[in-house]
């Protein structure tokens, strides 16, 4: 396996130039720049709000210095609250190329688009110079999410991803699973898998926090499609979602944007701290995908029963379809047919091995279905987090 070596020593599996807008008012200009490139390594990300927010600055810093990213063009309107100077400084300090265009200083829409095209051309030239070096499986970070779950997810695609995770972790790779709100009911069994009792207690607390938060919101992490697909309760959905984590010990509890320094399995706590302030913890699957990418995920394994079609900016998304009927209907969007398990045509471990092989292939440059189709969804909104406690990342193995 080979990876793009960044100046900060991290290795990526893609070589992306990002154009990021820092407020909705700069969105059109940034999109117009990206749309001039008929290639999928010039990608658009951004933040819509005008008010500053520590969380969104941290996530944006992590995304712009992600191992898959070679360089960044920042597009600012000029008067918004986002700290563009700090973002540019962080990117520069990581050794990546960065350029900032402020629409109010550059002379408006047309002039900023023209200047942006010059910037992106330069960033692409710089990106071409990045060295490809040997990369081991233990340098890979893989995240997993389920979206559009149904009654098949928890018995086919999710345990198959769990089997793949067990193999990745056996090879010292880093694996992240998440959405504590979709693990309500599994807190006790998860805590027992923690490598220290103190970490187990933190995991219990994180799920209790999720339950309180979701109760105040008035909805669990449960969509109408889940019910149409045979799931009846949050804890039933949780048990199915939980199967994605496999059977390895849990090495740590991280929050969005936190980086890990050694391989193993990590739970991401995505539910904000304190009283609900900005609404639902994650408004949609892509918000969770962005958070796992911010914590270094090179690849996302997305399991779906009802049939999600999304991809993501920055890191490839691999779609694992749980339901055989959905697979037949949406096969152009699905990378792996875990519905074979439901039909009795393959075992969980056989499909898990198939996912593992595809992770290796995609890491070596093979395009996932969502990449081929041009999916580069991106969502980042307001949140508030406190730092993780000292027991959350034990150093013992």
């Amino acid at each position: 396996m080979k990876g793009y070596l960044r100046a900060d020593g991290r290795k990526g599996i893609r070589n992306v130039v990002l154009v990021t807008y820092l407020v909705e008012c700069a969105h059109h200009v940034a999109r117009a720049i990206v749309n001039r490139y008929a290639r999928n390594n010039v990608q658009l990300i951004g933040f819509p709000g005008c008010y500053p927010n520590e969380y969104s600055l941290k996530i944006m810093e992590r995304l712009c210095t992600h191992p898959n990213v070679a360089g960044v063009l920042i597009v600012s309107l000029g008067c918004e609250g986002f700290n563009r100077e700090q973002l540019a400084k962080t990117i520069e300090e990581s050794g990546r190329s960065v350029d900032t265009l402020v629409i109010q200083k550059t002379g408006g829409t047309r002039k900023t688009i023209d200047a942006g095209l010059v910037s992106v051309n330069d960033l692409l030239v710089e990106a071409e110079k990045v060295d490809l070096v040997p990369m081991d499986i233990n340098e890979l970070v893989v995240g997993t999410i389920c979206g559009g779950s149904d009654g098949t997810s928890g018995i086919s695609a999710n345990p198959a991803v769990g089997h793949c995770f067990d193999q990745l972790i056996a090879n010292d790779a880093t694996c992240i699973f998440e959405e504590t709100g979709e693990l309500i009911g599994c807190e006790q069994i998860m805590a027992e898998r923690a490598i220290t009792p103190e970490l187990g207690a933190e995991i219990m607390k994180s799920v209790e926090k999720a339950e309180v938060y979701y109760t105040k919101m008035g909805y669990g992490s449960f969509a109408p499609g889940n019910a149409e697909g045979g799931l009846t309760t949050q804890e039933e959905k949780s048990m199915g979602a939980y199967a994605k984590s496999g059977s390895s010990k849990i090495h740590g509890l991280i929050k969005p944007g936190d980086l890990t320094s050694q391989g193993g399995l990590y739970l991401m706590d995505v539910v904000p701290d304190g009283e609900p302030q900005f609404g639902f913890p994650n408004i949609v699957d892509n918000a969770e995908i962005v958070e796992m990418i911010a914590s270094g995920s090179h690849i996302i394994l997305f399991t779906t029963g009802r049939g999600s079609v999304v991809g993501s900016a920055i890191s490839p998304v691999i779609k694992v379809c749980a339901n055989p009927e959905t697979y037949d209907n949406l096969s152009d969007d699905m990378d792996i047919n875990a519905g074979k398990i439901i039909n009795g045509e393959a075992s969980v471990s056989q499909v898990g091995d198939e996912i593992y092989q595809l992770v290796c292939d995609v890491a070596q440059g093979k395009q996932s279905k969502s990449e081929e189709l041009g999916h580069q969804e991106f969502v980042l909104t307001y949140k508030r987090f406190e730092d993780i406690g000292p027991s959350c990342l034990p150093t013992v193995r």
Binding site: D150, G151, T152, G154, I155, I184, G185, E211, Y214, T215, G218, Y219, G220, F222, P224, N226, A227, E228, G229, G230, L231, T232, T233, Q234, E235, E236, M239, G240, G305, N323, P324, E325, I342, N343, G344
Partner: protein, 101 residues
Amino acid sequence: MVNKHFVLLSNEDNVFVCCKQLLKGSSVSLEDVDVTMTADITVGHKIARRKISKGEKIIKYGVSIGSAIEDISFGEHIHMHNMKSDYIASHTRQSKAGVKS
């Protein structure tokens, strides 16, 4: 696999999960007992493995996934009309159901 239509995920379970659609009125043998479907059962949905009383836990994957809110007979479809979460309410596009009491 109990048969080509249903799977039993854990021995402690009181539900089977459908892996191949079965229409209302069709009969199927479940662990040597014949039962007629009282509703269309599509992939991913649950039916009762035995009679379940109101208030009893629904067991799937060997763990509780909620409680029965009415008596449920053998082979009956189990969903939002006869069970609820013990944690947090579920909702459909039309309404909320299974509100925690």
